[in-house]
């Protein structure tokens, strides 16, 4: 009987160890690790949070628009009374236009740039995301042909805009963009079209590599303004 008791004691000890492990692990999972959910529900939570943040961003963007219209209303109100303010505000409009802070429209071209269609038996390692320098060349070419405004997927290209690969996206104005890239350009439509479509030019290079490129002339291209804030921390005006 004594032996039996010892056996029970050992079984009890092992079950106690089991209980300790279970409760420690339970506490850890319910505590900080993944905030108390298993990886699958966590994924769901994160995607929900992502959607919420996206809608929040849209609300904030529309708020920016609202305040900007209010600001321009105030400016126009003030300039009605004062000739000096009127001059300044018309100058301001001009600089805004130059800087890319106004929506613009006019004639130009629209370029659709996409990855090759995935065919069976065709390798799919050709990806425009990893050859962002080609987009840079295209933008450069357009600027050389006298483009007055350029946007890629509605991101306005301005003086500080970057085009570079980060992860599996091309980041433009710090916003990740994915193919297809819709590049809108305002300028002389014939000059622009000729500049990109010339023999051995950028479009033919892209097509040779297998990318889908479509260039369309249009009389009515609309390009949205740059939606961000530029802050100069280092450059100061040189007084002479």
């Amino acid at each position: 009987m004594k032996k039996k008791n010892k056996n029970y004691l050992l079984i009890g000890i092992i079950s106690m160890i089991l209980g300790i492990i279970i409760s420690v692990q339970f506490r850890v999972v319910q505590g900080n690790f993944l905030e108390g959910s298993n990886p699958f529900t966590r994924l769901q939570e994160l995607s929900n949070a992502y959607t919420t943040v996206l809608t929040e961003r849209d609300v904030l963007l529309s708020e920016i628009d609202e305040y900007q219209t209010k600001l321009s209303e105030i400016e126009s109100d003030a300039s009605r009374d004062n000739i000096l303010v009127k001059n300044i505000s018309s100058q301001l409009e001009e600089y805004k236009l130059l800087g890319g802070f106004l929506d613009v429209q006019g004639e130009g071209i629209q370029i659709i740039l996409d990855n090759p269609v995935n065919d069976i038996g065709k390798s799919s390692d050709v990806n425009i995301i990893y050859e962002y320098d080609l987009i840079n060349i295209l933008v450069n070419e357009l600027n050389a042909a006298g483009a007055e405004a350029i946007s890629i997927n509605e991101e306005r290209i301005i003086s500080i805009s970057e085009i570079r690969t980060a992860g599996n996206a091309v980041v433009i104005n710090k916003v990740p963009q994915y193919p297809p890239f819709i590049i809108k350009v305002i300028g002389s439509k014939n000059t622009l079209e000729g500049a990109v479509n010339q023999r051995f030019g950028i479009v033919s290079t892209l097509r040779e590599m297998g990318y889908f490129v479509e260039v369309k002339k249009s009389d009515q291209i609309e390009i949205l303004k740059y939606n961000g804030i530029i802050e100069f921390n280092y450059a100061k005006t040189l007084k002479n």
Binding site: Y8, G12, M16, I17, G19, I20, I21, I22, R27, V29
Partner: protein, 110 residues
Amino acid sequence: MIIAIIGIVLGIIVGYFIPITSSGVYSIYFSVAILAAIDTLFGGIRANLEERFDSVIFISGFFGNSFIAFALAYLGDQLGVPLYYAAVFAFGTRLFNNFSIIRRHVLKRI
């Protein structure tokens, strides 16, 4: 059986109050440890019912199995291969085997 349940409840209470925490990184090790403990427990209950319980085998089995399972999990972590599957599989199979034998013994007694 009753001893085991009392032990688990006691362990949960103790584990709730002792200030030990682990990061989620080690959850593989914990899963293996839990399985090793359950496996040992079932094996012990089975041996007890068959009247051939040996405390040395029982304890050495628990620590030895846990050690091999931890070693496999660690090696798997280092090599990037989920080797702890082997432990999970072995423990899991044995667990159900032992349980079916325990069930037979208990049903026979009734």
